[in-house]
């Protein structure tokens, strides 16, 4: 199937397409934020202190009466002394040896046993997977803490036993995590490609899978250490960890318990250090996980926008016009700079007409629709105006928009699955807008829903109402979302790549349906598509977008037969047609669309334009009449493949 950025991932398309020159791991680490570095710094500090405990200028941890018993923090004893006059700081630092030692050791042990099993299960699948996961499930169902208590009580409470028990207890989670990560990557095509190249399994595991599993594993290791440190603290508190006089954090808290009233610092100091350490482990683990997410999607986290709405030029509001967009702008604030996703789009649309928006992915088509509907991400700034029958939609709050979305503006998106809730029946979902917006009763809404489904060509609508989205084919699901979009009788229907995810034969059926409904209901339609032949077939008017701007507009037949703007012409000639001869050379547009955060000066198409002159790189051509170009193509009628403009 054709996979293209969907409506919801359009933001990804806009941002992801324009990849920065290099996004090294260091670059990403640099953007992890101060919290990450503070936490990592704390962990490093505690680790260092634990390793160097013997050479640090500290009192000996077991030296009694190093200071007056139960004395509070002082210059000589920054954390004070305990009931026997021992230095609490020294005891906390030495305690870190045991606590962190157990933490790191147990995690490495769990990883050492769990990771190979998880990789084996995830990569080999079949019998290996079944056996390993069955055993794993049983192990996970075991009452872990009871097991730990029993073993330590039986085998003796010492460092080795505690470490082994906590390490082994972590194995099932490791197996599960590593298996899951392996599975995601083992199904990727690059693993298949490696096998097609003839690589052996061992090589594939080391080269293709392990590096990818490493990052989630590292993230989980930190979180695992936090868990182990807490668990060790619990055991120590019960006296089931390393025995006195060797200090551990849990042991220190346990000892200090009796002094809580007279000398609370004896409990507070180790508690605070333990709390900070556990917090830091968790924080570092979480941030590392975020690191994988960012690399996966290519989408950078968007920042909160602080800017005021963009100013807009003076214009005339046409009261008779159904939908009017005036100088609409949407800029997204990203760490790389301002992405001009929609940059000054204006159009008008009357009842009974279809306006098509065409352009390559990332040209701002979906963002334009979202700007009109007011469904924008938090990091965006909008400017310009949208008028629905003369009423300014851009002046409305999101709450006020809700009474327009549905009753007056209907939407159909590329992926029907994202528009439908998978756990609710079709009936509940189709009746909901009827009940909310039109205040229908249960029965009436249900009858109306059945009528709607029938009107979009769904056979046996009564039965369909009781089904769940996953029980329907893609084409049927898209019909359901169309029925939902139409349920409140909208004036304008927005269809963003409504058939891109569907089969060709079903595509034709769905477009026919949309067209028929538009006529029957005297609606207007905004049809977004990358498919020029589809647009030529179904649209009355078209706007061609490039880098967030309208570069050409006019009646669809006119624009496709006589493109004036070089980009429109180039798009038409790049698309293969059935009528072209076999092995026909398509003309190629060199280069690729510009980075929307870093547009070239002058005409945005200039670096790729075969007709560009000096002026194009200096001044941006305005949209005058039907095109934005300094040197438009001659008005020569071009037919089919012979669209040679000049």
């Amino acid at each position: 199937m054709r996979r293209r950025p969907g409506p919801d991932s359009q933001a990804t398309g806009v941002l992801g397409r324009t990849r920065p020159g290099s996004r090294s791991a260091a670059g990403v680490l640099g953007r992890m934020g101060p919290g990450f570095w503070a936490a990592a710094g704390w962990i490093a500090l505690v680790l260092l202190a634990a390793v160097l405990a013997d050479v640090l200028p500290l009192a000996r941890y077991d030296e009694t009466l190093a200071g007056p018993p139960r004395s509070g923090p002082s210059a000589a004893h920054p954390f004070g002394t305990d009931g026997l006059g021992r230095d609490v700081l020294s005891r906390v630092v030495h305690g870190a040896r045991v606590s962190l030692g157990v933490g790191v050791g147990a995690v490495l042990l769990g990883l050492g046993i769990g990771a190979p099993l998880g990789i084996l299960a995830g990569y080999r699948r079949r019998a290996a997977d079944t056996v390993i996961m069955a055993v794993n499930d049983v192990a996970q169902a075991f009452p872990a803490l009871v097991f730990a208590l029993a073993v330590v009580a039986f085998a003796g409470a010492n460092l080795r036993n505690v470490l082994i028990v906590l390490g082994v207890l972590g194995v099932p989670s490791w197996v599960r995590l590593v298996r899951g990560a392996t599975l995601t990557y083992a199904e990727r095509e690059f693993v298949l490609a490696a096998r097609v190249l003839g690589a052996r399994d061992r090589r594939i595991l080391w080269r293709e899978i392990v590096p990818n599993v490493a990052v989630p594993a590292a993230s989980y290791a930190f979180i695992g250490m936090a868990v182990v440190v807490v668990a060790e603290g619990g055991l120590a508190f019960l006296g089931l960890s390393v025995q006195a006089p060797t200090p551990t954090w849990g042991g220190l808290i346990n000892e200090g318990r009796t002094l809580l009233e007279t000398a609370p610092h004896v409990v507070l100091a180790p508690s605070l250090v333990m709390f900070l350490t556990v917090l830091s482990f968790n924080l570092v683990g979480d941030r590392l996980r975020a690191l994988t997410d960012v690399r996966e999607s290519g989408l950078e986290p968007v920042r909160e926008a602080g800017a005021a709405p963009l100013p807009s030029a003076p214009h005339e509001v046409r009261a008779g016009c159904l939908l009017q967009a005036e100088d609409l702008r949407t800029h997204l604030v990203t760490p790389r700079g301002v992405v001009r996703a929609v940059d000054g789009v204006s159009f008008t649309l009357e009842r009974g007409r279809t306006l098509a928006v065409v352009g390559e992915s990332g040209s701002g088509k979906s963002m334009l629709i979202r700007s009109i509907l007011g469904l924008l991400p938090g990091s965006s700034v909008r400017g310009g105006h949208v008028y629905l029958s003369g009423d300014d939609l851009t002046a409305r709050t999101p709450a006020e928009m809700r009474s327009v979305l549905g009753p007056r503006l209907g939407t159909v998106f590329q992926d029907p699955m994202t528009a439908l809730n998978p756990v609710r029946t079709i009936g509940t979902q189709v009746t909901e807008p009827l009940r909310v917006h039109l205040r229908m009763g249960r029965r009436q809404a249900r009858a109306e829903a059945a009528r709607l489904l029938a009107s979009v060509g769904i056979p046996d609508p009564e039965r369909m109402l009781r089904r769940y989205p996953h029980q329907l084919s893609g084409g049927m699901r898209q019909r359901v979302t169309i029925a939902m979009a139409l349920s409140c009788g909208p004036d304008v229907l927005f269809a963003d790549e409504p058939t891109t995810a569907l089969d060709v034969t079903v595509q034709d059926q769905v477009l026919r349906l949309l067209h028929r409904l538009r006529e029957e209901r005297d609606m207007a339609m905004v049809l977004v598509s990358h498919d020029l032949s589809l647009v030529a077939r179904w649209a009355d008017e078209v706007i061609v977008m490039y880098a967030g701007k309208v570069v050409e507009r006019g009646p669809a037949a006119e624009v496709f037969a006589r493109p004036r703007m070089p980009y429109t012409e180039a798009l038409l000639r790049a698309a293969p047609r059935l009528s072209d001869p076999v092995h026909h050379r398509l003309s190629v547009i060199p280069g690729r669309p510009p980075d929307l955060a870093d547009l070239p000066p002058g005409c945005a198409f200039q670096p790729r334009c075969p007709y560009a002159e000096d002026r194009c790189a200096r001044e941006a051509p305005p949209l005058t009449g039907s095109y934005a170009c300094w040197y438009p193509l001659d008005e020569v009628v071009v037919e089919g493949a012979d669209s040679r403009g000049r």
Partner: protein, 326 residues
């Protein structure tokens, strides 16, 4: 069987790849089976491009993967230059891999995000202990700068460039046959045109034999010498590209062409040529698998599966009541 038979196969010594009666099935849970490919046969002469079209789920990708034995087909024969691949296992199969390479649909997921581009392309020679001197050459042939490839990772490239990397990886081993599974479906029109042009150039330069799979008939026509139309795991029609488009005889091929906006000016509207949606491959219709959507279907279509037969010079068809569109 529906749309089966191997009458259309050419003599063995004329073809490089010969696929006979390929069957691919997957367990679908509760003891049921997805019949992804059911008795498909086709062949490729050296330096030929065979296009395979069909809608989602018709078994195009499953067939492609069965060719490289990942996973091996349930039954049937895949012969590369006379060598029966389905009979090979382990090391013997691995040794044939250099000759048969593949390019995938999703440019992002077909490249390991943690490796540098050059390492990705170098992987083939490393696996085979070959000198890496072809690496720079193929990188340049697909239009990538070898110096940039040495330091960058896939996420720093656009979708079109990622597809170029995949192509370079497939070509570096100097394969005889390259299977392209929807190589341009995820790309924009302008990038698609670049990649299609590139494939044609490389085909000439390296004398490649291509299997080109796509759902877009116009794209397939652009690069293919012959086109095979598939429906629900079966072959419908096979003909030279121009003839298939200008004189489609199978009801499904006609519907497919008529469904493309501006596609078949001489055909009746698609609405009269096809109805409903594809049935589940778990429980395909008896006889001809297209009969539930075919306006010409008769009683014979439910009881008897049409066999592939010749209807013109190198034009083959599996239908009881085809249209004579000449």
């Amino acid at each position: 069987m529906a749309g089966s038979g191997s009458a259309h196969l050419r003599p063995r010594d004329e073809v490089l790849l010969r696929v006979e009666d390929l069957v691919v099935e997957f367990p679908a849970g509760r003891g049921r089976t997805v019949r992804a490919v059911s008795g498909v046969s086709f062949d490729l002469a050296r330096s030929e491009t065979l296009g395979i079209v069909g809608e989602s789920g018709c078994g195009k990708s499953s067939a492609a993967r069965a060719l490289v034995q990942l996973p091996p087909p349930r039954s049937g024969s895949v012969r590369l230059d006379g060598l029966e691949l389905t009979a090979l296992r382990g090391e013997a199969l691995r040794r044939t891999r250099r000759r048969l390479q593949m390019i995938f649909q999703d440019p992002i997921s077909s490249l390991n995000p943690r490796r540098r581009v050059r390492e990705i392309v170098e992987e083939g020679p490393r696996v085979w202990d070959l000198p890496g001197d072809r690496v720079d050459e193929v990188l340049e042939a697909v239009g990538l700068d070898p110096r940039a490839a040495a330091v960058r990772r896939p996420h720093e490239f656009s979708g079109g460039q990622c597809q170029r990397i995949s192509i370079a990886r497939a070509l570096v081993l100097d394969p005889e046959v390259v299977i392209c599974d929807e190589p341009v479906s995820a790309l924009d029109v302008s990038v698609q045109a670049q990649i299609l042009g590139l494939l044609e150039d490389l085909k000439e330069r390296y004398r490649l034999t291509l299997v080109f799979i796509a759902h877009d008939l116009a794209v397939v026509k652009n690069v293919s010498d012959r086109i095979m139309v598939m429906y629900l795991g079966k072959v419908c029609e096979l003909a030279p590209s121009a003839e298939l488009i200008s004189a489609p005889a199978h009801p499904y091929t006609r519907a497919l062409i008529a469904s493309i906006p501006g596609g078949g000016p001489d055909l009746p509207p698609a609405g009269t040529l096809i109805s409903g949606e594809p049935p589940s491959p778990v429980d395909p219709p008896s006889g001809c698998r297209f009969r539930t959507r075919c306006p010409r279907a008769g009683a014979r279509c439910a009881s008897e599966e049409p066999q592939i037969r010749q209807v013109g010079e190198d034009h083959w068809l599996a239908c009881h009541y085809p249209t004579d569109s000449r």
